[in-house]
Symmetry: C2
Subunit: 829 residues, 2 copies
């Protein structure tokens, strides 16, 4: 097992002051294999190319430093003075030179090979690098004409960075060419794979920092190649950037011996190509080695694709990975105040921190910046000189301009046959049951079938598609699988468009990458475990919020969650699988981007899904059961219900037009069942009581209109929930969440919510609702306790309900299943 | 690089009907190394041992099946009839036989080597296995005498499983010997490492399922060995269990060619030992191979520990990992209704689903169970026969009885010097600033120093200890590091007790394992990114809630989060690092176990930390800044403030005893600053206004006493927040969260909350609060708008505040820093 080393032909300057990152001191173990030998001691760059790539790199580095430090004087046309320096120095220098190096070299190969390529930059806190290169390539100025490619533009570019009214310090939606926010680490690989799925002509160059590589999501992100079809998908070229340090620590991967690192990368399914130019990091040697590595990697990608596409090979390729070691903060100050900086964690943010107050720091900054020889890179007017830009690709081939990274430009609407097409017949509500998820599965099947040619829709899930009753989709496509096949296998295919891996992180990350490059998808997950991606949700919501404010970012398809196997039906699993709080989390995000739907039955789920699949720039959370549950609405009523978001179900109540005595409201399938059973009990036992039944499918409707675009006006809200009338609300999740939505409403003091309260374990469906006080008997008692004047009239009924609850308790412990009158209950009105 | 194969000497029965899991069909690549050769074709088990280990295994399998299916007739003393079968069949069979096999073999080596061992079972949905073995070993009956080791006990054991009033179907707190809930997958390795840190005599045998292995947390969990000190820590023996399938899919790792899998495991820092008994899975051959593998692995662990402890080796050992392939649902029905079941994903839950209604299923179940030959395993009274139990260890050495797995039994209180010891002097409030986190760092330093001998306290964090200003801890210990060292390194040591890896999952998982084995710790994280472990928090909270209800589970030290680098001070990072919603998530968990503290200054943080470190069975979330911020309270006042949780700061207001005109309340350091500045402006400009200043440090105090053990009575709440008096509340997080806590309070209609609203980017500290309407000027306007009769009097002031906000807007865009009057503001009263 030999590694490949792309070694530059330039003479390594071993007198360089920058220490090598992470040369390990451990002795080789007893079974050490021979060291990898250099396969490429080539010098693929001509002298001209070398000059250009180095000039571009220096220019980008210069601009990165300038962004961190400078207000005016961008070209250093006068000696640096303290007033040229930003009062607050904010940014991350350490990763920039490595990112700029990669970018400069990608420009060359894009041009030479006419590549359709995007870059995904894991170490996205190196914002100054991406901004610098976008400006050098002209894209920044096309979006922001006031920030032209001249001295004034350069001044604005530097000033705006991490400055009030300017741009953030990370790679963010504001940075053209990016689909990846670099704030929270771990998702670069998943995003890159998501981008290339169903984009056979695309290559995503993905820089994975050695900090990020320690995260769990990155660690399993490598295995995405097990679901990458070399025929229908593009390629990801991971570039593992070992700069040796995190914020204040060495990194694990940089301190592994090379044979252990190589074993790891091979275990991930990759063939490593090391960029190795000796310990001195002579730029010319590194450039030649990097160029050789890129050429080799791209040749191997082409060969693998050719083998699969033209020669019919079905072997999973051992895709190349480039391993680039370079010193953290390379080309920055070697030493500051007597401590080593370049090549250490001290380069992470701002290497020289006291520039305004310490004349030696100021002088050191000036000499650092002048060391890039800006006069060779920019003319007097601040324009990049032609040789700097000689390898910049043209038009949309530029990394910052590639349309895949502004996916809305490429989005085509999904072919949707409409909810009616899949409707289940409902002759009498509450008498026949269907599985909502299974019904939806037929709609998703057809979306998959109708996109078999366009290949712009996928279904993602952590090994739960069948468990979640969506198996109809296998009539249209299969689960993607690139490893070995066995006779017993079912529904697996190399070109399948259902992606299943037991990693919610991968599912979410792939889908995000797929959406941000303009395609559509659904992520189906167990409700409890979608919390695994809570933090990813945060980042995507922030991305969408900011994107919507940028006119040049085109709307992308929404992120659709189908949360099934929900809190109320964990018969197989119990307490650990019961958590309905993802909604609470989602609702904290910007109201512009979040929607939550709780369809009560199969037809309403179809109507919700139809709406969600056609939407843009949103996060739609849809919670629906997989077990058969009662149908309440025919498809027309379901569509109207979704249109309204909150409906009075007049047919269910005994409210004959006037003011009701009580409102029974429900959101969610299990609460709807219990609320309907409650209404039934009340109509039976207290026929004179005017009961209004309300169903909430669009949860954000409960918010005030000023707070959320879906919010109801107070007038509309009051019409449904008349102030002064007790409301008994059965809610799918934590009960206080409904209060958090409604606390400003006039009728809020009259609202009583029942929901889930962290009480449960493996048990029967009805016992779950009893444990959490959401059962019909408890709800009847709530009504009696809250409707004025009812206590006396209802006292016998109240006692009967109490007795019934106790009877239930004993019954299930004896029989292991729910009371017959609960199991056999149907709506009778 | 040769793999090691422990191959049993028994003749492989190739006619067996069970297909091998995941033999890959891909051809070997061009650089394929020679296949690993068997190092061990030994038969370490004597005939007696083989008989016992097989009998134990069969007994455990029998009991597992019985738990899924049977109500009475546990010994099959009469032919199975439908009424013997549970009406609802709930549970997961597929993983049980493999788990039972491992357990049976661990029993042997524990006895032979007098091992102090616990087991951590990743595939914890195999609950029937762990319950069966705990009963066989006698531990279950010691805890539950009514469930004795006899026929009646066996009947109860089977009936209670996943049955109302019984036990959950997963390995949960109810299962003795476990520190790991098997519901959500991914954390077994991290828990196992957490358990063995600072337990040099302990071995944690950790079964990692091939499903779990696909998760991100598991994928980086392997790298925990980079921070395992062979001298001061025990050992983790991972057993990668490849049964080939997840719920409905093959697994990635089971379908890798062996050389790729071996590379991966070596890349993780392990030396693989394969249990290989041929494709037929002849039990005798597997037993011999498994025994040989275990002996080899434990020998290697001993050798590595000896080398480090006795010979002073500082090389990181290549710890053994056992790779066990066995068919999913092994020994279960080979075929059901014409479809293959054993060895496929169809074994995942209940292989025979129609046992009550389908006579052939019933017959198949009976023949399956009788196939274990129960009469050889249990006597007529249902007692396990002596030869079955011959290898069960004694007393606390039994896996289900090991005290490390009931860590409260081993917990020793931390030596705490008390908050006063670290107090910062506060002569005049609001005039001198300290970094709260830095101040706390000195307390943590001494806890680390004072536990240098007992080694029962650790600090965990994702590479942020210094960034979070806790670096004083390095005076007492270092960061643990087992890889190569470079001259530039600082604060690294092989025996360090600060654990830093850029993986919140590892940090949380290690800490959980450390706590559940009875030790103490703190997890310091950026506030925004602690959402990465939201789902882990869920599981730990559920674990604690259930544990507290089990009298035999002793209280363990609390899980302490220090969330610093919080939402209001992300100057370097911006929007992606701004999320204060973890508290909202935590507050959804059982009130018995969650506490949230928002200390306003350094001394209050000390008082909170002192309380948290002494607590048990809680999750304490402490949010505090790292930047210098004003000191408000001397240490005596801080201690009293924490004691009360909510305090009126009489010295800060102009409320002279009577009913105030307005209450200004704050929770969090930044809100406290703005609320104090607001109070100051009001006292200056509206001196006749009676202003009460309230500070909330213990957020759960705002809940009603009926809802939370820390909740205030309505009477106490009303005394602080008089109903009818406007309350302007500056809150650290999302404003609606305060409403969610207080919606039942009498004064709730008078409450107006300002907090964070997803508006922000990289900017100055004051601009952040302005963007989110939490600034002093906006708050003064709020007061004017809400205090009756103030609009007219305050109109000029209101306009001035409005102007000041506009002035701020222009100023920061010009100067890049906050207004001088904001930067230089001090409390002057």
């Amino acid at each position: 097992m030999r590694g490949t080393t792309a070694r530059g032909g330039g003479r390594a300057d071993r007198s360089g002051s920058t220490p090598p990152p992470g040369a390990p001191t451990g002795a080789a173990g007893p079974t050490a294999p021979p060291d990898p030998t250099p396969l490429h001691a080539a010098t693929p760059l001509t002298a001209d190319q070398l000059r250009t790539v180095d000039a571009y790199w220096r220019a980008a580095n210069y601009l990165a430093v300038g962004q961190i430090y400078l207000l005016p004087n961008p070209l250093l046309t006068e000696p640096l003075r303290p007033e040229h320096i930003k009062p607050r120095l904010l940014g991350h220098w350490g990763t920039c030179p490595g990112l700029n190096l990669v970018y400069a070299h990608l420009n060359r190969v894009i041009g030479e090979r006419d590549l359709d390529m995007i870059h995904v930059t894991g170490p996205g806190h190196g914002g100054p690098a991406a901004v610098a290169t976008a400006w050098l390539d002209g894209v920044w100025s096309e979006i922001h004409p006031e920030t032209g490619r001249d001295a004034e533009g350069m001044r604005r570019l530097m000033r705006q960075f991490s400055f009030p009214g300017g741009i953030p310090s990370h790679i963010a939606p504001e940075v053209p060419g990016s689909i990846h926010e670099g704030g929270e680490l771990g998702y670069a690989l998943a995003h890159a794979y998501g981008a290339v799925f169903d984009n056979p002509g695309l290559v995503a160059a993905c820089v994975v920092g050695d900090g990020e590589a320690e995260t769990g999501p990155a660690a399993t992100g490598w295995h995405s190649n097990k679901l990458l079809d070399p025929v229908h998908d593009g390629a990801v070229l991971p570039i593992l950037h070992l700069n040796g340090y995190k914020i204040a620590n060495p990194t694990v991967l940089a301190r592994l011996e090379r044979r252990e690192l190589d074993a790891l990368l091979r275990g991930y399914g990759h063939e490593p190509i090391h960029v190795d130019a000796g310990d001195g990091y002579d730029p010319a040697a590194v450039h030649q080695a990097m160029a050789a590595a890129l050429d080799l990697a791209l040749d191997r990608i082409s060969a693998a694709q050719r083998a699969a596409r033209e020669e019919g090979s079905t072997e999973r390729p051992h895709w190349p990975v480039i391993v680039l070691r370079s010193p953290k903060g390379w080309t920055g100050p070697a030493e500051v105040d007597g401590l080593p900086v370049a090549g250490t964690w001290r380069s992470h943010q701002v290497p020289l921190a006291e520039v305004r107050d310490d004349a030696s720091h100021l002088a050191q900054l000036e000499s650092w910046m002048r060391g890039y020889r800006p006069e060779e890179l920019f003319d007097e007017a601040g324009r990049p000189r032609p040789h700097v830009l000689a390898q910049v690709p043209r038009g949309d081939r530029r990394l910052a301009a590639n349309p895949h990274a502004n996916g809305g430009r490429l989005t085509r609407a999904l072919p949707l046959r409409g909810a009616r097409h899949y409707a289940v017949p409902v002759e009498r509500p509450g008498t026949v049951a269907h599985s909502p998820a299974q019904t939806l599965g037929r709609m998703l099947r057809d979306v998959l079938a109708d996109t078999a040619g366009s290949r712009n829709f996928r279904l993602f899930g952590p090994d739960e598609t069948a468990s979640n009753k969506l198996q109809a989709v296998y009539e249209a496509t299969a689960k993607n699988w690139q490893a070995g096949y066995l006779p017993v296998d079912e529904h697996l295919a190399r070109d399948g468009r259902v992606l299943e891996m037991l990693s919610e992180h991968n599912c979410q990350g792939w889908l995000e990458g797929y959406l941000l490059t303009g395609r559509h998808g659904v992520f189906a997950s167990y409700e409890a475990f979608v919390h695994i991606v809570s933090s990813m949700l945060n980042q995507h919501a922030k991305w969408l919020k900011v994107s919507r404010e940028l006119p040049w970012r085109m709307p992308v398809p929404s992120l659709n969650y189908l949360l099934t196997s929900h809190v109320w039906r964990q018969d197989h699993n119990g307490f650990s699988h019961q958590d309905p709080g993802f909604v609470d989390h989602v609702a904290n995000k910007s109201p512009q981007v979040v929607r939550v739907y709780l369809p009560p039955d199969a037809n309403t789920l179809l109507a919700v899904a139809d709406k969600a699949l056609a939407s843009r720039d949103l996060i739609n959370v849809i919670i629906a059961g997989k077990h058969p549950s009662f149908d309440w609405l025919g498809i027309d009523d379901a569509l109207a219900h979704v249109e309204r978001g909150v409906s009075v179900w007049e047919w269910a109540g005994s409210d004959v037009g006037g003011r009701p005595d009580v409102v029974l409201a429900a959101a969610g399938d299990t609460p709807t069942l219990e609320i309907m059973a409650t209404a039934s009990l009340l109509r039976l036992h207290l026929p004179e009581l005017r009961v209004r039944v309300v169903n909430v499918v669009n949860l954000m409707r409960l918010l005030p209109a000023e707070e959320h675009p879906e919010g109801m006006t107070d007038r509309d809200y009051d019409a449904v929930f008349p102030p002064g009338t007790p409301v008994i609300f059965g809610y799918h999740g934590y009960p206080w969440f409904v209060h958090r939505l409604t606390y400003r409403r006039n009728g809020h003091p009259d609202l009583h919510v029942r929901g889930y309260k962290e009480e449960g374990t493996t048990t029967t469906p009805f016992d779950m609702v009893v444990r959490n006080d959401l059962d019909r008997y408890r709800l009847v008692m709530d009504v009696i306790d809250r409707v004025p004047g009812l206590v006396d009239r209802g006292i016998t009924l109240r006692q009967r309900m109490q007795d019934q609850r106790l009877r239930h308790h004993d019954w299930i412990r004896e029989h292991g299943e729910d009371l017959p009158e609960v199991r056999e209950w149907v709506w009778q009105w």
